[in-house]
């Protein structure tokens, strides 16, 4: 029951998504706005930051402050914002191409830096926006114009990378499961430090096979852990389809050093006087 001042609709803008009918990202938009309502923060105090891709279009569909930046750099934009504005709730929304391909380095370092924000990647295992090329999470045998016959590369384990590089909260959800997605996002935002949620979100246009995901996902059978090594091992050996919160750590979030009181620059002059 949500007895809060804000409802999910208060977090939705009036801009019509460009997404294809049936795209999983519609569900993610529902989940994040529902989660925001649960969190009950005023939309004016929330920021949704993204890069480029179908998924990355999401900020403008919310009623929060948003930044639709360049491809792959959302985490860096968000880091600057959160460090200098610790009062804001910052969510970063990305896709598997934006986040794990071009944006991979910022992912590593965001996890390590452990700034208090939430990173949600809508993983559809394809570059949707550019019309169907393999991403780091794409299966090795997926055929496409750019990689005829498939890349032959084993897909990435984003959750393991997150763990190995220091993320403080790691979860996987399925876009169609709005209830659990919402719950997990609320937990992720509330958890201090850098929280990472991978949401499996089908691209019905370039990966029609992903409509099958609905039947394939299942809740994680084991409890979440706070031991990164155990969590990593578990994820490395699972089938990639189990959802839920997998790891919740206790690392100290990044300390921003920003004081509210802005000091006087003239104090800095003494150093130079001869």
């Amino acid at each position: 029951m949500n007895a809060n001042a804000f409802k999910a609709k208060d977090y939705k803008s009036d801009i019509a998504p460009i997404w294809c009918p049936g795209c999983g990202d519609y569900h993610v938009l529902m989940s994040i706005t529902k989660a925001m309502a649960e969190l009950n923060r005023d939309p004016k105090d929330m920021a949704v930051i993204s890069g480029i891709g179908c998924s990355s279009r999401i900020p403008a569909y919310t009623n929060c402050y948003g930044f639709h930046g360049v491809h792959g750099r959302s985490l860096a934009l968000a880091a600057g914002l959160k460090v200098s504005r610790p009062d804001l709730t910052v969510m970063v929304m990305s896709g598997d191409g934006d986040g794990f391909s071009i944006g991979g380095n910022h992912f590593l370092h965001a996890c390590r830096r452990n700034i208090d924000m939430t990173y949600i990647v809508m993983d559809n295992r394809v570059y949707g926006m550019t019309k169907g090329q393999p991403s780091p999470t794409t299966e090795p045998d997926w055929d496409s114009a750019l990689s005829p016959g498939g890349t032959g590369l084993s897909p990435f384990h984003p959750l393991v990378i997150a763990l190995a590089s220091g993320a403080n909260f790691v979860a996987r959800e399925f876009s169609g499961d709005i209830k659990n997605s919402t719950k997990t996002i609320v937990e992720a935002v509330n958890h201090p430090g850098f929280s990472f949620v991978e949401i499996l979100s089908p691209c019905v246009t370039f990966r029609p096979d992903e409509r099958e995901w609905k039947g394939a996902v299942h809740r994680a059978s084991v409890e979440e852990t706070d031991d990164p090594a155990r969590a990593a091992r578990r994820i490395m050996t699972d089938d990639g389809m189990n959802t839920g919160i997998l790891y919740r750590g206790h690392r100290k979030p990044y300390a921003a050093h920003v004081k509210d009181e802005i000091g006087d620059a003239s104090a800095l002059e003494a150093k130079f006087e001869v």
Binding site: D45, A47, G66, A76, G80, V83, S84, N105, E273
Partner: protein
């Protein structure tokens, strides 16, 4: 302030307005420390001056030299040659001695125990006096050769012991009296050596009655200027020769309630700065050529999404990794033109170390007021030079971003059309101001659009705000009168000024504002010119090419340009001008 003394040499020499010396020795020999000490002491006497370092490719332990010039007037560039060169040792000297000419009436001080004077130097026929640096130092308990060298120089130029000891005490006092005493004894030993010399290079007392000196590098001055302008967030990725800007900002921002984040790379640092600025904090980063290249994509975002941000580019020799520790002005092109698409923005360049402060502060002001990226083109020769200057004047410029007020109206248009092209920006937290900043072509609200009308109107707006801004009279420097003009920009301004000292009827015109091109102002400054010498530190003549693109040049044009690391000197400019006047 202690008064300068007469030189201690036995013969009397006419005092001059400028004296230059070099102290060389392998890293660890303390050449740089010695040079710094002399510079700071000179500042206490009211002189001006500059210290540059020359270091070899080795990370540590290679050759190092302190190149110092002191003068009675503000002077930031080196003279064409040195009056005194003193070697603690000669290791690796072959590699640089050709670049350190000693004046024909100059003097080389060498310790025979440090090995033979390099042939390249000996062959010039310059006077060489030997002095037993090593022996003198070891005769003193805790004595150091570099301090003896300090004494020699001080003696030759007439720098008083009190000024030196003031600095020594401030620096070494904590280490105990014995250390201070050893320094004094070493300096005294050097002064006695100087007194025995047949030469002296007395420096005249500071000419103008001026206030206290500051001792500061260009990189520090940029940092301080930025903070004065209102910068409260910096993102950093180290790169020579810009690292000191960041290393200055880190503790300084912390002191006044700002913060610096070390990023994983330049792609991150520029995006962090943009993100922080989106949040309402005036933001900055500093880099050099290779890093700037990596930032250009995101700078385009700052243009399109209209987010203020300042980037300090401390230029070094290019292309590619080039020579990290040496200066060039060859990032003009990328700073002005390095964006994909049409991206109006601002590029400015400090005209001296002292001006680094003003220019950086102006940059912050303009970035914030126009909601635009501003690139500041400093360079290694400014950034890493340590100079004695007058305390820079306080400047009124402050970050003054036009922000949107809280509202219940739900009609906020982030990219609304306005008379000056600048739209009030809602800072996150502002009620009713929610919008999504976007690098895609967008409409008034920021929503992505493929409409020709949106592309046109937003581009018009962004151009208008940059072109319509009032840059006041800060666009450049105009000094002197005459129909022969030296036209230059940035760091070479001081060099050109130095070149024109003593020459009459020559006008100096230098640009601080590079882009947008200050066409009307420059045309006015050049009105009536018959001959213009365009001076720049690039191989291809980027600056002249840039000017040509924007204005007709209805006068005779000559070009003095060269790639780094060999800096264009005042003498070369003067020679070109004299040559012209002669013909």
């Amino acid at each position: 302030m202690t008064e300068p003394q007469a030189p201690s040499g036995s013969v009397s020499f006419a005092p001059s307005e400028s004296v230059s010396f070099a102290i060389v020795g392998t890293g660890g020999a303390g050449a740089i420390t010695a040079g710094s000490l002399l510079l700071e002491a000179a500042g206490k006497c009211g002189w001006y001056g500059v210290l540059n370092r020359s270091v070899g490719p080795q990370i540590r332990g290679g050759e190092a030299a302190a190149l110092v010039r002191l003068a009675t007037h503000p002077a930031e560039c080196m003279s064409k040659d040195f009056d005194v060169l003193i070697a603690i040792d000669w290791k690796g000297a072959d590699r640089f001695i050709g670049n350190m000419p000693v004046a024909s009436d100059g003097l080389v001080f060498a310790d025979p125990k440090a090995g033979a004077v390099p042939a390249l130097l000996a062959e010039t026929g310059v006077d060489i006096e030997s002095c037993a640096l090593k022996d003198l130092a070891s005769a003193i308990e805790g004595g150091r050769e570099n301090m003896v060298a300090v004494g020699i120089i001080a003696g030759l130029i007439g720098l008083p012991m009190e000024a030196l000891m003031e600095v020594v005490t401030a620096k070494l006092g904590k280490k105990g009296e014995a250390v201070v005493a050893a320094s004094r004894a070493s300096i005294e030993a050097g002064m006695s050596e100087a007194a025995r010399s047949t030469h002296a290079y007395p420096l005249a007392p500071a000419s103008e009655k001026t206030g206290k000196r500051w001792l500061i590098t260009g990189n520090e001055a940029v940092g301080l200027g930025a903070i004065r302008g209102g910068i409260r967030f910096a993102a950093a990725y180290p790169i020579t020769p810009a690292t000191e800007v960041l290393e200055y900002l880190a503790p300084s921002l912390a002191k006044i309630g700002g913060s610096l984040v070390q990023a994983e790379d330049e792609l991150a640092s520029i995006n962090m700065a943009i993100g922080a600025s989106f949040g309402g904090r005036p933001s900055i980063t500093a880099t050099s050529g290779p890093g700037l290249a990596l930032m250009m994509e995101a700078l385009g975002l700052a243009v399109a999404a209209e987010v203020p941000v300042v980037v300090i580019d401390v230029m070094r020799c290019g292309p590619s990794t080039g020579i990290a520790t040496k200066s060039e002005q060859s990032d003009l092109n990328i700073a002005v033109y390095g964006f994909h698409g049409d991206a109006p923005h601002v590029v400015i360049a400090p005209t001296s170390v002292a001006d680094c402060l003003f220019t950086a502060q102006w940059a912050v002001h303009m970035a914030e007021v126009m909601q635009t990226p501003v690139i500041v083109l400093s360079d290694q020769s400014l950034g890493q030079a340590r100079v004695l200057i007058e305390r820079p004047a306080d400047v009124a410029f402050l970050a003054g971003r036009k922000t949107a007020d809280a509202s219940d109206a739900q009609t906020y248009e982030r990219y609304a059309m306005t008379a000056d092209g600048v739209s009030p920006m809602a800072i996150p937290g502002t009620r009713g101001g929610q919008y999504t900043a976007d690098g895609l072509t967008h409409n008034l609200r920021g929503t992505p659009s493929g409409l020709a009308s949106d592309q046109k109107s937003q581009m018009d707006k962004r151009r208008a705000k940059i072109e319509g801004f009032d840059y006041g009279n800060h666009w450049g420097v105009v000094e002197g009168e005459g129909d022969t003009v030296v036209l230059t920009w940035g760091s070479l301004t001081g060099t050109a000024r130095e070149a024109l000292r003593g020459l009459t009827d020559i006008k100096l015109v230098a640009l601080r504002q590079i882009s947008p091109f200050p066409g009307a102002a420059l045309a006015a400054a050049l009105a009536g010119a018959k001959r213009v010498l365009v001076v720049e530190q690039t191989h291809s003549g980027q600056f002249l090419r840039y000017i040509r693109a924007h204005m007709d040049l209805p006068f005779e044009v000559k070009q003095l340009n060269r790639e780094g690391p060999n800096l264009i000197g005042p003498d070369e400019i003067a020679a070109r001008i004299m040559d012209w006047s002669a013909s």
